[in-house]
Amino acid sequence: MPDHVFKPETLAIHAGQIPDAATGARALPIYQTTSFVFDSAAHAAALFNLQTFGNVYSRLSNPTVAALEERVAALEGGRAAVATASGMAAEALALMTILQAGDHVVAAGALYGGSVTLLAVSLKKFGIDTSFVDACDPAAIAAAMRPNTRAVFAESLGNPSLQVLDIAAVAEVAHAHGVPLVIDNTVPSPFLCQPLALGADIVVHSATKYLAGHGTTLGGVVVEGGRFPWDNGKFPGMTEPSPGYHGVKFYETFGDFGFTMRCRMESLRVFGAALAPMSAWQILQGIETLPLRMERHCANALAVAQFLRADPRVAWVNYPGLPEHPQHALMQRQMRGASGLLAFGVKAGVNGGVKAGVKAGVDAAVGAEEAAGVRFIEAAQFMSHLVNIGDTRTLISHPASTTHRQLDAAQQRAAGVTPDMVRISVGLEHIDDILWDVDQALAAAAR
């Protein structure tokens, strides 16, 4: 009899956690321990040789953290996962496991600012080059491929550009060149989009956002799809004896979760960005309600987008859930909803911007448009001005002066950031109250 296929709502509550073997505890115990005893010297040797599975030290694995790893793997339709201390750690770990000095990455131009810095500055320092291209154009990705390209990196739904990636088309380009497609799926969450099913090979998450969902806890996850042929000759680190783990051949030994094992035993073990058990527990508590929360985030965001679109004080609205969004059809094809993030431009008021800009601490030469955005942010009553997304609370930010401040004007444009852009991460408050706060902040911005 074939196994029953469980739906995401069930996986969000059950995957990765059956009652505790020792106590029968139904909810997930928090294994707040650094280390685990060996049964014998032979058991210790077998564990270190990876000949048996078990816990040694919580920097490598921990039963509470493992429940989170399996749950996110299940929600993504993946084979295996490894959790990390933050989303950036997940991204760095995934890329550092795939890449080595002399390799090249093709990345979407419209990425989260931290991801741009990781690729353009930090990895470059270690001899890994990145070409940033318009990921909406698979031909541009194909044209940027080099003989030493070893990964394509993009976001399923760009933050804050809100570009929807044609994952199947980009995966085809990556696979034609024998390299994996790595997708940051933070903004949709696995409930709204499953990149692995569309052809991606690795998914990374900032679990801090919708997965945890309450603005309390940092975490990240790397998920492996299990279908990429690592033995195609381009990834000796996966097929040759590992100098980092006494000669184990990760792909041959662990097959379709060989990448995850290598990520854990080579990269996590030495870079050390392990997730704390308490944090894993908090993120899992959030994931149990992920499907319910995402449905409401989507509904509230659509209502805010429709309100803004009809408002003369607003220059433009960018939300993939609106029919006029250039990739609305693509969003409908590969996502269950457009998520809770939207961006819009506040029209410059009659007073211009210099005074307000100075008051806000942004450059004195700031334009009127940027100043209007800043005034909107400052006038909000309960919408919180901060740089996180995916909270129960509605969050607002002005990327040009915060998250994307480190980028120059050209990089900002490439990342889809304009001076007047306000980003809203629409929360779970009552929609009438959210619209009330947006309305009164727009009134203040227009003054």
Partner: protein, 157 residues
């Protein structure tokens, strides 16, 4: 080919003596990983490899072929390239094994058909160690999606 959780549980519960065809004597080879893991879980492994016939691996006598084993075998676990599996399937049937198991990366469909026609359970392209750890516990500790959803405390297989 058997693929579902209840069948795999039944196979791993019933098969206590496992002939490992193509077992290497080198500790870092996957076949050695699997055999030493299975020993640790209480299974008896029987090495089959003409290269090492008459010697011992993991404390067990190595036989050149399945037919040389002087006692009953429940499972024949195959670490050979797919093209070599068909005669091994016939041997598995001849010695009265109840399961033919082709390891990860080994898929020989005619061999699968031979085993099933003779009433054996047949598994392809899976690892005995990984499936055991998936269902009996352990694999979940390294973040693998086990597919196990249950409200019962784990009690081995």
């Amino acid at each position: 080919m058997a693929n579902d959780i209840s069948t795999l549980r039944r196979i791993l519960h019933r098969c206590r003596t496992i002939a490992v065809v193509g077992l290497s004597a080198e500790w870092h080879r996957p076949s050695y990983f699997v055999a030493s893991y299975l020993q640790g879980k209480g299974y008896r492994i029987v090495p089959v490899n003409p290269r090492y016939a008459g010697t011992q691996i993991l404390g067990e006598t190595v036989y050149a072929q399945l037919e040389d084993i002087p006692h009953a075998v429940d499972m024949v676990d195959v670490f050979r390239k797919p093209a070599d599996v068909l005669p091994i399937a016939h041997s598995a049937v001849a010695i009265g094994a109840s399961c033919l198991w082709q390891q990860l990366g080994v898929l020989n469909e005619p061999a699968d058909a031979v085993a099933r026609a003779a009433g054996l359970d047949s598994v392809m392209d899976r690892c005995v160690k990984i499936e055991h750890a998936r269902l009996a516990g352990g694999l979940n500790w390294v973040g693998v999606n086990t597919g196990v959803i249950s409200a019962r405390r784990p009690v081995g297989l």
